[in-house]
Point group: C2
Chain length 335, copies 2
């Protein structure tokens, strides 16, 4: 099934959306909000699934679904933890500054605790106070889990993944070096992220949900041009269940926890840095990556970070070219 939260109050109003993302039916008689459904998923999910079947068969009155009326599926969440599963991205970061990737990065996932108290809606502007902060997009996949016990295995973690979304993990690259030097991780460098208008159960992906990753390309347009088409199923050092298990090593995870993949990043066909889409490559899911490739090739980055007026679109099509999650579409504006 596909779920969305129409803008309403702090937590939105839960609706079931048709598979083609054109119609919805209110689900607030089952649970007022998506968080409320996740708090009681075992009881709510079968009812929501039944409503989803009715929506598909047009057995209930539906209304037109406008993606712009949707908030992020969880407008605020109790936890947002973002991994960095595509080590190619980390390899490029390190290579650009002449550093090695520690061997441990290939078996111990990178993950940071993100702010989750208020997300942007998928069509919200990205407010930027200072262009020197180096505003960047990061195209990612994320999952929402139910209650996960401490110490869960990666195998068991897979069963706790209840919903999948796309993310634009907005990052302020100019603030990252200073924060990392302080040793306490990202904070000011990670302003609110935005999620896709629709969250889906993994079964909606059919064969494209395999081995804990989506076997489809993520699509990123930047200022109206194709910027990235990376294959989510390729070059993933860790899958989503691995990341859930990592997050739960020393503590349980509460229902509604969101775990992200990190920026999707593919190697080039020759195993080296990936090429731009215009040159036949898979392109990039963030600007930092093309800047690192420019730095490696030419000694300096040419592509600038986002500024007021720039726009980013992130979405995913199924094998038939139909949008699965709706699209994140955001403009950067002066704050």
């Amino acid at each position: 099934m596909k779920l969305a939260s129409l803008k309403s109050g702090r937590d939105g109003k839960l609706v079931v959306v048709s598979k083609d993302v054109t119609r919805y039916c209110a689900a607030d008689n089952i649970a007022p909000t998506l968080q409320a459904a996740l708090d009681n998923w075992a009881e709510c999910a079968p009812k929501l699934e039944a409503l989803a079947r009715d929506v598909e068969h047009e057995a209930v009155p539906c209304q037109r679904f406008h993606e712009r009326e949707a908030h992020s599926p969880l407008p605020r969440a109790y936890q947002w933890a973002d991994g960095s599963a595509y080590i190619n991205h980390v390899e490029l970061v390190r290579k650009a500054r002449g550093a090695e990737v520690p061997d441990s990065f290939y078996h111990d996932p990178l993950m940071y605790q993100g702010g989750s108290d208020g997300f942007l809606a998928p069509r919200d502007d990205i407010p930027l106070k200072d262009t020197a902060w180096g505003c960047d997009m990061e195209g990612e996949v994320a999952c929402i889990v139910d209650d996960v016990p401490m110490g869960v295995s990666s195998e068991d973690a897979a069963g706790h993944i209840k919903l999948i979304m796309l993310v634009n993990d907005v990052s302020l690259r100019g603030l990252i070096p200073g924060e990392l030097a302080k040793g306490f991780g990202f904070f000011q460098s990670k302003p609110p992220s935005a999620f896709s208008p629709v969250a889906i159960t993994p079964d909606e992906l059919g064969d494209a949900w395999s081995k804990g990753v989506i076997q489809l390309p993520l699509k990123i347009d930047y200022n109206g041009e194709a910027f990235g088409r990376p294959e989510v199923g390729e070059d993933a050092t860790f899958n989503l269940p691995d990341l859930v298990a990592h997050a739960a090593k020393t503590r349980p995870l509460t229902a509604g926890t969101i775990i992200g993949s990190g920026t999707i990043s593919n190697k080039g066909a020759d195993g080296g840095p990936g090429k731009p889409v215009a040159e036949g490559g898979a392109g990039y899911a963030c600007i930092a990556e093309i800047r690192m490739i420019e730095t490696i090739a030419d000694g300096e980055a040419k592509t600038r970070f986002m500024q007021p007026g720039d726009s980013v679109k992130i979405w995913m099509d199924d094998a038939d070219g139909h949008s699965i999650f709706g699209a994140i579409e955001q403009d950067v504006v002066q704050a």
Copy 2:
């Protein structure tokens, strides 16, 4: 006024507690949970204050308040961000490993994004899987804010501090070096924290709330003996409004965000490392600190981290010796 959340469901049941922390009256006719009250603070706070006056005057039926029946005031929260305002603690960490404290640490607060999806109740056991993880307490003060706009000044941030609590920020010291080396900050090394049974409005502190810090000692007993009596109002490089402003530099903060002070840490009377309580000093709010002092003095740490069977108590008395927030009392148990 003083508020608590009696254990009930995922978010507890909001009650108003008498100033002497012995009686309570249910407040769920005003707001079912503390988060609900914070979501609508401008409307709820005056009603809760009126109820608090009635509780004080015994004008409403009250029941006996048992601290063990209280969850953390926010059993789960949308944000928990913890500063490190007592740079003496950082100075000792660095000195123990022969490193300098960067000058920036004295004007740019350290802060990490903590997990907030599920806190321990103030009397909950601390589950520990592996003693090699180096389980430690951290005695701290924290505040809860209402909605804070992005870019708020420290002066304006003070007015957004609605409630104050104590915290035991449980830390796994053995996992910290590895996580810091990865550069993404704390994650597995910060399992769930516990907060005091009662959260209070700043006016409850009277003159002891001054300059954005509490002017009273925090009390920490470890295995039944006085371990720390540090003055919260001394050696604070940053006050709570400074930390709120830091957190809000690049994003707004949603109502219910918790901002922590970091481990309270006093210098010794001579400006050097603080002495143990038994030797007339203020002692320590975490075990790491005495270990660092041992390392600086003798080249190695003697005091071990917490193990199953160890217990910690954290509380604060007013000038008349009455407990202000109730007590955090936790035993470490094998998970």
